[in-house]
Amino acid sequence: MENEKAILPEVQQIADAINAAVKNAGVTVSINPSPAEQHSLLLFPTKARECAQWLKAESPWQLDYLSNVSGNDWPEDAITKQTPKQPVKDAGEEPMHPCLEAVYHLYSIRQSLGPIIIRMRTENRSDKVELPSLTPIWRSAELQEREIFDLYGIHFEGHPDLRRLRMWDEFEDHPMRRDYVEPDDYDYEPTPHGDVLKKSLTQQEGTV
């Protein structure tokens, strides 16, 4: 792909190939209307791992290298208010529903082509936030999926070690969501040192 642009006919061709190879894959093309023209493939979450496995191992593109995984948040007003002239739509689809999104950038080292971008969307932003983890297929997704779980709150099913990556374990919110409200100050961070302090105090009391 020249100039690193995912040209629309090629992306459509990949989508058709996946739909032909994987039963009920339901892959659609997500159009990017910006000058970057990076169109992407929208995978159906329940079939995503099957499609990804095919893309990596059996497809003629041999997408053996996962470069980047990122998250995206689409609350109601980001879809409707921020782009009043051009509401966010997929090709031939109804307008988007509020959701969280994981975006994977794939390359083929063997054929030196890419990026080919795949996306998955959750059902909503509150309770149905599960997506299948693609770590079993591309091992390099492990830490980046942990980061997305941390910052966006997408639960990747089948991930070997889904813990927070950046924020401390006791933190409860997901800071990269659009509706996250920042605290007044960040001075207080609970650390395990508090527990150690408590323990040493009880030990001191015991000796007295």
Binding site: A36, H155, L162, R166, P192
Partner: protein, 148 residues
Amino acid sequence: MTPSPGRPTEAMPQFEMHATGVEGATEGTERMEVSMGPHHPSTHGVFRMDVELEGETITKLKPVFGYLHRNHEKIAESTSYLGSMPYTDRLDYFNSMTNNWAYALSVEKLAGIEVPERAEYIRVITAELTRLQNHVSLIGSWCRTWGP
């Protein structure tokens, strides 16, 4: 506190050291869990490893990140495209100019901007200077870390 879903209960880091004898181990060998960092000289404040050692052999290592997390993306939400340029060279101070370049490239791609040829030349020159100082720093810190 109730643990959030998806968080294993053993996620709390172990700060105490345990020394327990291992059955079948050779004499003088013991299993030990060490929390290495974030203030270990080699991790200089940004990184911790929960290491499990058996003698001098590392049997298990769990990296713990986030001690230098500023969430550049979150800062970028409330500033302009130009305003977040200075943050990109702080991501890695040994590759500052090339990180600037990478960020500029992505913004240009997003907005469909082409830069003049002169700017391309300046970018190549600064990237080469960055590469030089990066390699010199690398050799310098090798000399320091490998010891006399």
